[in-house]
């Protein structure tokens, strides 16, 4: 987890730096009065590296992936939630004794 986050932050920094260098490069081009045809190669390398690092972080940080098969053991539906919106209170459970000690102290 720690390494994953570190890699992610590094990737983010690289991307930010790539953006910053592109802005700088465009500023320089304006001074030299040349047309902007594309980012310089070092920015492209930086972008690719940043992308790769971010992708690695994205895969590493959330740790375990869930299965998408509906009948796989982890996410097999075993029961539905009790329909609590429709719950009623005069059920047979009221005949059971309850602990009188349970009180809200304020």
């Amino acid at each position: 987890m720690g390494i994953g986050v570190f890699v992610g932050v590094l990737g983010g920094l690289l991307l930010a730096h790539a953006a910053y260098s592109t802005v700088q490069y465009r500023g320089m081009l304006k001074i030299m009065e040349e047309e902007f045809s594309g980012p310089p190669p070092n920015v492209i390398i930086e972008l690719l590296l940043g992308l790769a690092l971010c992708a690695i972080a994205g895969l590493a940080v959330p740790e375990k992936f869930h299965s998408i098969l509906p009948y796989s053991e982890e996410n097999r539906v075993v029961s539905l939630p009790a329909n609590l919106d429709f719950m009623i209170f005069n059920h047979r459970g009221r005949a059971l004794p309850f602990d009188p000690e349970l009180k809200l102290k304020t």
């Binding site: 053991e73 982890e74 996410n75 539906v77 539905l80 939630p81 919106d85 005069n90 349970l102 304020t106």
Partner: protein, 303 residues
């Protein structure tokens, strides 16, 4: 929906909390998330958090959802006094809130003051006539008074407006089954299967209703839905396997003496289901294996 892994986690946390291992808040959150009805335990552990000022202040704003959860659990356990205090705390914090108003209505319901509860809900509905929770409470109230016909009427009205509410469809289906109106219940389950086609429990319930209605055609359809339940659960649902066995036997009886080609494929699937059942029993409950084996032999599913 409660998955197998989540259920295991809930049970593990429950035994941990019951044995004083801590994690009460985590347990309460999971109960809330899964929509499990464990009122007694929620009341006990929720109160232990609420009565401890330090633990309570650590929750921050979550404190108020805990008050709500404990209030409902207390109503379910007939601890009216506790519920009253929780609701009083909530209404002091949020005066005029509909959510607290609903809790007050539920308090009246638990005291069986039906007329007062009705009035309270009617007042809330004046402000927001399409409040789903209040409309559902009215259905529950009709059910609690032992008047399922009125509950059905309210629910049908509700479903005309909120057609995509699958919980309401499920409730309606269950009420129809209680009233033995299987045709209508089957319609509700069809709606549910359309709504959430990969939930095996709806397929299973639909098959159960069709099997109960009887008749060759219904039972053949029921068998298909039992089969789809087996497919969706990976063969882990015992009830669906039993359903397949019984459908096979009944279809065999109903088509006895008729043309032979219909019979050709049906005994096959039910005997496979019988084999799967026996295997399952062998693994999980060997002491009952002999009982199941004799039953299957009597039904002529295995030799």
């Amino acid at each position: 929906m409660v998955g197998a892994a989540e259920e295991a986690r809930l049970n593990r946390l429950e035994s941990q909390v019951d044995n004083g291992g801590g994690g009460a808040w985590e347990y309460l959150c999971l109960v809330q998330k899964l929509g499990a009805r464990r009122s007694e335990k929620v009341l006990k552990h929720g109160l232990s958090i609420l009565n401890d000022p330090r633990a309570r202040s650590r929750l921050g704003v979550e404190e108020w959802t805990l008050y709500e959860q404990v209030a409902i659990a207390a109503l379910d356990c007939q601890q009216i006094d506790v519920a009253k205090e929780c609701i009083a705390a909530l209404s002091m914090k949020f005066p005029g809130s509909i959510r607290v108003g609903k809790l007050e209505g539920m308090l009246l319901e638990a005291k069986e003051a039906w007329a007062d509860a009705e009035k309270a809900y009617a007042r809330l509905l004046e402000d927001s006539p399409l409040d789903q929770v209040i409309l559902k409470r009215k259905v529950a109230m009709a059910k609690a008074q032992g008047n399922p016909a009125a509950a059905v009427e309210y629910l049908n009205k509700y479903l005309e407006i909120f057609m995509a509410d699958h919980d309401a469809w499920r409730e309606l289906a269950e009420i129809y089954v209680n009233l033995q109106m299987y045709k209508q219940a089957a319609y509700c389950y069809e709606e549910l299967i359309l709504c959430q086609p990969i939930v095996p429990l709806y397929h299973l319930a639909y098959a159960d209703v069709l099997y109960t209605m009887g008749g060759l055609e219904n039972i053949q359809t029921a068998k298909k839905y039992y089969a789809s339940t087996v497919n969706l659960t990976g063969g882990k649902n015992t009830r669906a396997l039993y359903g397949l066995c019984l459908c096979g036997v009944v279809i065999g009886q109903l088509t006895k003496g008729r043309n032979k080609d219909e019979k050709a494929e049906s005994p096959d699937m039910s005997s496979l289901a019988a084999k799967a059942l026996l295997k399952d029993y062998k693994e999980r409950s060997p002491e009952k294996l002999s009982l199941v084996t004799t039953m299957m032999k009597n039904m002529k599913l295995i030799s």
